[in-house]
């Protein structure tokens, strides 16, 4: 039985949770303003004090590792890295979309989290619980919503959507998929740290940890400056420039 701290700050949602064995001892989730730098650590402090936790007792720190808001991801990442460094605990990089799909544990349908990625794209993946096992049908990626909908329509199977991309794309989804499209209810349709911690515990049991020093978010997208250089066929990193 493991004790895992979950941290989620990949979008508008800021969330922290402590998982002890098969119990969420505490979870604090706010979906309000994007001020994670000011809220995330006070939220952690609040649940630690309220539930009389000793952070030294943690086995690992699970962090929602992306994709998502670049800055949001880094606030969660740097928080997890600082805690990991200070407490000498390993980190677990839980892919954000996997953790979101894990909100719908045991759901028999296809699960499709979509996050608004701007620039006409969504961050998404396709998941399903098959024989009580969590499977990835489509790896997380950044694509146009239309492209995703074509792929889902071709499969002719019901899909449950969730994420902050739903309000933005709801009409398009309904128009393309009709009655195949379902939408997760409010208690499970956004990121939450409890899912990050719970999926993190599964990964922890499988030995999928990394050092706090090695952890970095998976952005799934280059910076604009890199994209522009790459488009011109120029090297984008100092290493590449030397090589």
């Amino acid at each position: 039985m493991s004790k895992i701290l979950g941290i989620e700050s990949s979008s508008l949602v800021a969330s922290v949770a402590i998982l002890d064995g098969d119990t969420i001892t505490a979870e604090y989730t706010v979906n309000h303003k994007k001020t994670h730098s000011q809220t995330l650590l006070p939220m952690l402090d609040e649940i630690v004090r309220m539930t009389e936790q000793n952070l030294e007792d943690l086995d690992a720190i699970a962090v929602s590792g992306g994709p998502g808001s670049f800055t949001g991801l880094r606030i969660g990442s740097a928080t997890a890295k600082g805690l990991g460094l200070a407490l000498e605990k390993p980190l677990i990089h839980v892919p954000t979309l996997d953790a979101m799909a894990y909100n719908l544990y045991g759901c028999g349908e296809r699960i499709c989290p979509i996050m608004d990625a701007r620039r006409g794209q969504v961050y998404t993946g396709i998941y399903r619980f098959e024989d009580n096992t969590f499977r990835t049908l489509k790896e997380d990626c950044a694509i146009a919503l239309e492209e995703l909908l074509e792929e889902l329509a071709a499969a002719q199977e019901p899909v449950v959507f969730l994420g902050d991309g739903v309000p933005v794309g709801r009409e398009k989804i309904a128009a393309r998929l009709g009655s195949l499209a379902r939408f997760a209810p409010a208690q499970m349709n956004r990121q939450r740290a409890a899912s990050v911690a719970a999926l993190g515990a599964v990964m922890y049991a499988e030995g999928k940890t990394e050092t706090a020093a090695a952890h970095a978010p998976e952005y799934l997208r280059m910076s604009q400056a890199e994209r522009e250089r790459k488009a011109k066929g120029l090297p984008v990193s100092a290493e590449e420039n030397q090589g």
Binding site: T71, G84, A212
Partner: protein, 350 residues
Amino acid sequence: MEEKRKEGKDEMEQDVYVLAVESSCDETAAAVIRNGREILSNVISSQIALHTLYGGVVPELASRKHIENINPVIEQALSDAGKTLDEIDAIGVTYGPGLVGALLVGVAEAKAIAYAKKKPLIGVHHIEGHVCANLLEHPDLKPPFLCLIVSGGHTHLAIMKDYGEFEILGRTRDDAAGEAFDKVARAIGLGYPGGPKIEKAAREGDPKAIDFPRGKIDGSPYDFTFSGMKSAVLNYLNQAAMMKKEVNPNDVAASFQQAVIDVLVDRAMTAARDLHQDKLVLAGGVAANGALREALAAACKKRKIEFYHPSPILCTDNAAMIGAAAYYHYMKGERAGWDLNAVPGLKLAE
């Protein structure tokens, strides 16, 4: 009474160790400082090779690099100092001014470390850090003193009245001096980073070759303006190009640099005279410019003003200077909360 005094004395004599973190622009840095004055370690991971490729600092890339580098840099600073986190008394971190995404990495990291180890957290103003770099190298330097702060983002004339207390006398109304260096360097084809490249080219050029304007702000004797000077350089280059006249970039660099130096020296000396200051402290990235240091040293000598400047390694962004500044705030009992945020436009004493 006797007992109490003894206790107090012991407390005074106890060494204070500050771990400091700096990530406001393109250097990821950490340091351990003893009693605000002694550098036990000073680790800087520079991203200059990456940003040179892009012709300037790319904020998103800087932030990504900070995340990759920050833990190894902090661990190195602790191990170089021979200290564990348990032996550290306080954590200091730059929370502004700077690039918001870059600042946030250091702020979130430092907060988490301080929180996990139950250590006091001190938020430090980056520019105050630059001034405090001088405290690390001049053990006898104490406030009050006049400071000239010159960097890529700042040009300030201020008085440090006491540790952590500043009175701003003047500032740039447009470009920072370092920014003007970067823009002129780009215009004459020297590239990024502009400061060191202009200084190098200027050594081969004639500072009197071209008379660029030394801008003044009417009624504000301590304020600066560099945009007119920068435009004059660009106009000079454009006119030469139109007339197909050959330009000597070394002369342009030397003449431009001289104009900047004349303005900085003039304002600093005016303030020192008006306000009867006998100590001048130079700080910020542009403090690494040898010609500026020589000119200020000569002007100060003439007026019997003690002149202080940091060695080049402490002129660039580093965490040692942040640790020095944090120490004095720590000793005053100042503490940041767990809600400490990055403030990209943080003002100094306003």
